[in-house]
């Protein structure tokens, strides 16, 4: 630790290391200095001095494409962006009343949400360490508010646990921790671990288990007021004559195990799932709109790229206007291509065979989200659930409660499904009407009396049916990374790819941005060296 350096000198030092050893050296140095381990973002790129008249064609106006356009324009390049959809933002998307959702195959939904309500069908939560995204949100005036991630009072449901009755997360989590602590305490006391645990550690462990597991004096996990102070009471503490609380009854070990609550507990341990998390006020697409404001005049919407070519003089993309049918060719010196791999794999594109193989090596997942508008916030009023998720092993995966407009007496949109895997395919294959019916039927396990009664209308986004991506996110395996990742991200003549799929932060906006920053930094170096 070099703690006696002033911030200014420290930064100079880092810049020096960066110049001498490149980004990785700088990153490693920053880590050693104790202030960068959580992100590879080291501030916006300081690109400057583009050759006069040098131009870049950017394909796709998602976050990766718009960030490239923004920073390259700042560096002095002439930039044009081509985007297939009639809106910018790509997967950074929110659905509101009046919107139309059109799927491949033609199924069309007219969204009927009340003004102010929305569904974030794609990205919905931002980790506190996604520094790149947070940086640009601040820079572009995108207001963020908390995203309630871990709600101890939300529920967990499994068809074959507790007779199919959902349980509160806090009760299961406390019971799981308690039972495990008791068992470990027993084995310690029986000497079963004496060969692996020293005497001092054994004492500490026993003290820890007592505290961590809320065990009693005999190292037993039982129903008592101490345990209730974690999992909740039978009668909660009050005032006056009947103020004294009564304890709740713990669940037996087998029941707790049947709930698989450890999957939720460990889910919340994930680095990318830890609190604090954020969401933009008013809908996730506020971020895309923030970017778009900076570069709107560079973007041609409703423009479907149909082929990509390059030679030693420049790049060219042929396109078709999806509204007028007009066709054209856009040319430039260089290209940043952020089209999803699903689309690129089917496009006539002039790059090396290795890059083509890499593009074809990334299958896409197929999530489905469903937003149900409810007449009232019964989950708050009746169940004391304010934001967070209730999980289920049914196809819908979970329901999630809105993180804005708490306590308001007006309709609210509840996330009625975030389905993946088999559940995602199953819902995607249904008509939009059937999806809503399935979401109501399955979500009713959590709020049986209110769910259908309060339901007003719903909308769904099945990612495999979205015409401009045909999927949700790229899926890598260790093997495909080893074989193809470097080939995917390498600069190929005058073309560089960017986007979520070209990062190790796949399926996060942060990955799209970091990939874009890396791509344009290399493009700029290449252009200056040419």
């Amino acid at each position: 630790m070099i703690s006696d350096l002033s911030p200014q000198t420290r930064r100079d030092l880092l810049t020096m290391i960066g110049r001498a050893g490149g980004g990785l050296a700088m990153y490693q140095a920053m880590t050693a200095l104790g202030h960068a381990a959580e992100t590879q973002f080291s501030g916006p790129p300081a690109l400057s001095g583009a050759r006069a008249g040098a131009s870049v064609l950017v394909l796709g106006a998602g976050l990766a494409g718009m960030l490239a356009a923004y920073e390259l324009t700042k560096a002095g390049y002439k930039v044009q962006v081509l985007e297939y959809q009639d809106r910018p933002g790509g997967r950074n998307y929110s659905v509101r009343g009046g919107d139309k959702i059109v799927e491949v195959g033609g199924a069309t939904q007219n969204v009927a949400y009340q003004p102010g309500n929305y569904l974030n069908p794609g990205p919905w939560r931002i980790p506190h360490h996604h520094r790149t995204l947070l940086h640009y949100c601040k820079a572009f005036g995108v207001e963020l508010e908390p995203f309630i991630q871990l709600n101890h009072n939300a529920m967990v449901h499994r068809k074959d646990a507790f007779g199919g009755k959902p349980q509160r997360y806090k009760e299961l989590a406390v019971d799981f921790t308690g039972h495990v602590s008791e068992l470990l305490g027993k084995s310690l006391n029986a000497g079963a671990l004496d060969s692996t645990v020293s005497k001092e550690d054994k004492e500490k462990l026993i003290a820890a288990l007592r505290e961590w597991g809320a065990l009693d004096g005999d190292l037993k996990f039982t129903s008592n007021l101490n345990v209730s102070s974690r999992r909740g009471y039978d009668r909660a503490p009050g005032g006056g004559v009947n103020g004294a609380p009564t304890p709740s009854k713990i669940n037996g070990l087998s029941d707790v195990l049947s709930s698989h609550v450890w999957t939720q507990m460990s889910f919340y341990f994930n680095y990318v799932m830890q609190t604090t998390m954020f969401q933009p006020k008013g809908g996730m697409d506020m971020i895309g709109k923030g970017f778009y404001k900076q570069i709107a005049k560079l973007v041609r919407l409703n423009t479907k790229v149909t082929s990509i070519k390059q030679d030693d003089k420049g790049v060219a993309a042929t396109w078709t206007d999806t509204v007028t049918g007009k066709t054209g060719v856009a040319t430039a010196d260089y290209m940043v291509c952020t089209l999803p791999a699903t689309i690129l794999a089917q496009l006539d594109i002039q790059v090396s065979d290795a890059k083509k193989a890499a593009i074809k090596a990334i299958p896409y997942s197929g999530q489905v989200k469903i937003g149900l508008e409810m007449k009232s916030r019964f989950w708050e009023e009746k169940y004391s659930i304010y934001g967070g998720h209730s999980f289920t092993d049914q196809a819908i995966g979970l329901i999630s409660y809105p993180n804005y407009d708490f306590f308001k007496d007006k309709p609210a949109v509840l996330l009625g499904a975030f389905a993946n895997g088999a559940g995602g395919y199953m819902l995607a294959g249904m008509t939009p009407e059937k999806r809503i019916e399935a979401a109501l039927a399955q979500g009713s396990v959590f709020h049986p009396e209110e769910y259908r009664r309060e339901f007003m209308n719903g909308a769904s986004v099945a990612w495999s049916r979205m015409p401009w991506i045909l999927g949700c996110c790229g899926m890598w395996t260790e093997e495909s990374r080893a074989t193809h990742y470097q080939n995917l991200v390498s600069m190929d003549g005058r073309i560089v790819l960017a986007g979520e799929h070209a990062s190790y932060y796949g399926c996060w906006m942060e990955g799209a941005l970091l990939s874009s920053l890396d791509a344009i930094t290399r493009l700029h170096q290449r252009a200056l060296a040419a």
């Binding site: 889910f267 794999a345 895997g421 088999a422 949700c472």
Partner: protein, 137 residues
């Protein structure tokens, strides 16, 4: 079942980012398993597998669809003439199409392939067997 877990572990190795969409197979290693929804298909006939899985992309009438990219039709598609081809695609995936076969048993892969090759106007000869699929894994 064993195969399923195996393949999930395989994809589960991929990265931190898989945690994003917790119920996808890749999440198994880090972000939990079936607690986030139905991952496996479970018991299902060839027709049910088509309806619950393939139709998500190839559409219920198997005619495919087109946007910025396309889902090829399975109806009237001459590439299905040799059963090994669709079986291989289901087991290994193809470009944007994930290796769906990881969610299915050998018999289920055979069943859905045979179903597709004999419906939607398709009348291709010969049937794919579970052994054939096993050899492709």
């Amino acid at each position: 079942m064993k195969k399923l877990i195996l393949s999930m572990a395989l994809i589960g190795a991929s990265s931190v980012a898989e945690a994003q969409a917790p119920a996808r197979p890749a999440a198994a290693a880090s972000a939990g398993d079936a607690a986030f929804g139905a991952r496996m298909l479970g018991e299902a006939s060839g027709e049910q597998i088509f309806t619950r899985v393939c139709a998500a992309c190839h559409m219920q009438d198997a005619k495919g669809a087109e946007g910025a990219g396309r889902y090829p039709p399975l109806a009237g598609n001459q590439k299905l003439a040799i059963g090994a081809y669709p079986a291989m695609v289901v087991v290994k995936g193809l470009n944007g199409m994930p290796p769906i076969g990881t969610m299915l048993t050998d018999q289920q892969v055979a069943d859905v392939v045979n179903y597709v090759r004999s419906h939607f106007g398709n009348k291709f000869k010969g049937a794919v067997k579970a052994e054939d699929v096993k050899a492709m894994r």
